[in-house]
């Protein structure tokens, strides 16, 4: 694998047992995320894109196949090692914002650094800088329920940046926001991408994907249906890695 890839899913399948049925949420999928890219994972609900996001974000392990995060096979890591690695390499943004309700904006942003063992002074100083980036420095003592949806999502962006990760993984980041707030979030994500962060955005909205992403994976029925790449403002399908069963 070349060093330009940050995350790679090779021949990955994910099966769930639902009662007596075996649900193949993902069935032999290959996804390659290059460093610095802006990738959209698209697909209707039930397509398996959420499962894909969990695997890409190393929130879950595959039933079959291998997942590499910066050239490291994550399968053999313990749960805690995985948490540690994830906290450092990937910043998460969720559709529901998912801020911790009893912590202030500042404390929420500082939380990922706490789990990496940074001391409090450094944590709070950095968190304040990050809140300044998302233009919420004046709201640092506010609790999530005192902030609008857009503001909460900006706090979430600041939190995702806390450990200066390579990758930002955003799951429907504008799904719960009005158009104006959503646009603002996308501007922030675009700027982060320009600064070199790899952005992976899960969305069901083709327009949003086409407007912001440079690579689009379309997933349907647990398989990668197509991979498109924007080259000189034109979208072109690119050849997929075929699935090889071991």
């Amino acid at each position: 694998m070349s060093n330009k890839n940050i995350i790679e899913l090779r021949n990955v399948a994910k099966h769930y047992e639902m009662g007596e049925n075996l649900v193949k949420a993902l069935d032999c999928v290959n996804i390659v995320i290059e460093k610095g890219d802006f990738v959209a994972i698209m697909g209707p609900s039930g397509s398996g894109k959420s499962t894909g996001m969990n695997l890409i974000g190393s929130l879950d392990l595959a039933t079959e196949g291998e997942i590499y995060l910066e050239n490291e096979d994550i399968e053999n890591l313990t749960e805690s090692e995985l948490a540690q690695l994830r906290g450092k390499k990937i910043g998460f943004i969720f559709q529901q914002f998912n801020l911790v309700p009893n912590l202030t904006a500042l404390e929420n942003v500082a939380l990922p650094m706490l789990f990496q063992g940074e001391d409090e002074e450094d944590r709070l100083r950095k968190a304040e800088e990050l809140l300044a980036i998302v233009e919420l420095k004046d709201r640092k003592e506010h609790y999530p329920n005192q902030l609008s949806g857009g503001q909460q999502q900006r706090v979430a962006i600041a939190r995702a940046l806390a450990n200066d990760p390579e990758v930002i993984l955003a799951d429907e980041p504008t799904g719960n926001l009005d158009t104006k707030s959503g646009e603002k979030i996308m501007v922030f994500l675009g700027e982060l991408n320009k600064k070199g962060k790899t952005i992976i955005m899960v969305t069901h909205d083709p327009d949003l994907a086409k407007e912001h992403a440079r690579t689009i994976y379309s997933i349907r029925d647990g398989k990668v249906e197509s991979v498109e790449r924007k080259v000189k403002n034109k979208w072109a399908k690119i050849k997929q890695n075929t699935c090889r069963r071991g």
Binding site: L59, E79, S80, F92, N102, E107, P112, F115, R159
Partner: protein, 405 residues
């Protein structure tokens, strides 16, 4: 890191406000019950052993056995008599003996009658001094009886109160005992033992005469020369009396009690009583602990998503475990601190009330720091133990499962 767990745990508890306080209240009640009952138990022990402070360390008590702590003369045994006194007196190591009578008498004054009990004042001044020292009595007014003085009595402090006979008895007044008139020459100071506050001291001759006692003693007090040998001297008195009375070992109808022995048996009983009381009180503590477990389980369910988020952003299993354990520990700790203080003030309040209502019996409660700190530490531990399973459950939650819920 631990301090971070404390910060996070504290914020979670604060966030849940009322529910946290209700859980803590359960612990408070448990700890307060334990602390107050143990404090009162210790106070009771002190008060009861105080009743025995009259037992000097160099004094043996010989009583008919079977009488135990009950009223003398309740059993059919060969009563102690003058001959026994001589046998005891002749035992090596015995310095002085005081044969004593303790009998219920009818006391009349101001046309009202009251049962109380009388005890004899010996004929010998040395014996009188020993007895008064042994009983730990002091005079409030008047004087003690002179050896052999007839027709005079000294009364305990509770007998002279207005509510007993409708009129206060003062020195110089006359009272009737078993129908005969006696002059009150002295009144005792209120003592630590309630028995001494209701006593009538009268001369041996008066007492024998009015109660028709011929040759009989209820107990014989023996002072020894050297209190280090008191156990051995007690043994030889026992041997001598047994031989003299022609009794077999184990079938004696008398007993020789050393002061240590009698205190020890009382202490054992009171310790058992205290343990039982503390055991009952700790039931409420268990209920408090279950309250903690309950709210922690509820908290895990309620915060499933939050736990998932924390794990997604890098929290390790031990971080989640730490935060939750500290949280349940804090519930126990806060409940423990408040409960211990509440329990102590409760005990102090009750002892103050008891002092007002019980009169003679002084129920003194002292601040026992070991008990307070122990109760707080115990409460913290209970919090941790009761939070253990819910916390483990929280820490083992999988991120994807947490998000799916």
């Amino acid at each position: 890191m631990i301090s971070d767990y404390f910060t996070l745990a504290f914020k979670n508890l604060k966030h849940r406000g009322l529910r946290s306080w209700l859980t803590i209240l359960g612990v408070i009640i448990g700890i307060a019950a334990v602390v107050s009952l143990i404090s009162l138990g210790a106070g009771l022990k002190e008060a009861v052993t105080g009743q025995f402070s009259s037992l000097s360390p160099d004094v043996l008590t010989i009583q008919n056995s079977g009488t135990g702590l009950g009223p003398p003369g309740a059993t059919t045994v060969v009563k102690l008599n003058d001959h026994d006194v001589k046998v005891i007196e002749s035992t090596q190591g015995v310095k002085l003996t005081i044969p004593r009578l303790i009998r219920v008498i009818k006391l009349e004054y101001n046309d009202a009658a009251q049962f109380s009990y009388a005890t004899n004042v010996p004929e010998d001044s040395k014996k009188v001094a020993l007895m008064f020292q042994n009983l730990n009595v002091e005079l409030e007014s008047g004087r003690f009886l002179k050896p052999g003085e007839k027709g005079k009595v000294v009364l305990g402090s509770d007998l002279v109160k207005e509510d007993v006979f409708g009129k206060t008895i003062s020195v110089g007044r006359s009272v009737k005992i078993q129908g005969e008139t006696y002059e009150v020459v002295g009144i005792l100071k209120k003592g630590s033992s309630f028995t001494i506050n209701q006593v009538v001291f009268m001369s041996e001759k008066d007492m024998k005469q009015s109660l028709n006692i011929i040759d009989e003693w209820d107990m014989i007090i023996a002072q020894v020369n050297n209190q280090d040998n008191i156990e051995e001297i007690g043994k030889s008195i026992e041997d001598k009396l047994r031989k003299d009375r022609g009794e077999k070992i184990g079938e004696e109808d008398f007993s020789v009690q050393t002061p240590v022995k009698s205190l020890e048996s009382i202490n054992t009983i009171l310790t058992i009583v205290n343990i039982i009381i503390a055991g009952i009180a700790s039931i409420s503590l268990i209920v408090g602990g279950i309250g903690i477990a309950n709210i922690m389980y509820a908290s895990v369910v309620e915060r499933t998503k939050e736990i998932g988020v924390m794990k997604a952003i890098g929290a390790k299993n031990k971080d989640i475990l730490g935060v939750f354990l500290v949280e349940s520990g804090l519930l126990g700790l806060v409940g423990g601190v408040i409960g211990a203080l509440l329990g102590l003030s409760l005990a102090l309040g009750i002892s103050a009330l008891a002092g007002n209502f019980l009169g003679g019996l002084q129920l003194k409660v002292s601040v026992d720091y070991v008990l307070l700190l122990g109760a707080i530490a115990f409460s913290f531990t209970i919090g941790i133990i009761c939070g253990l399973l819910p916390s483990l459950q929280a820490s083992k939650l999988k991120v994807v499962d947490a998000f799916r819920k």
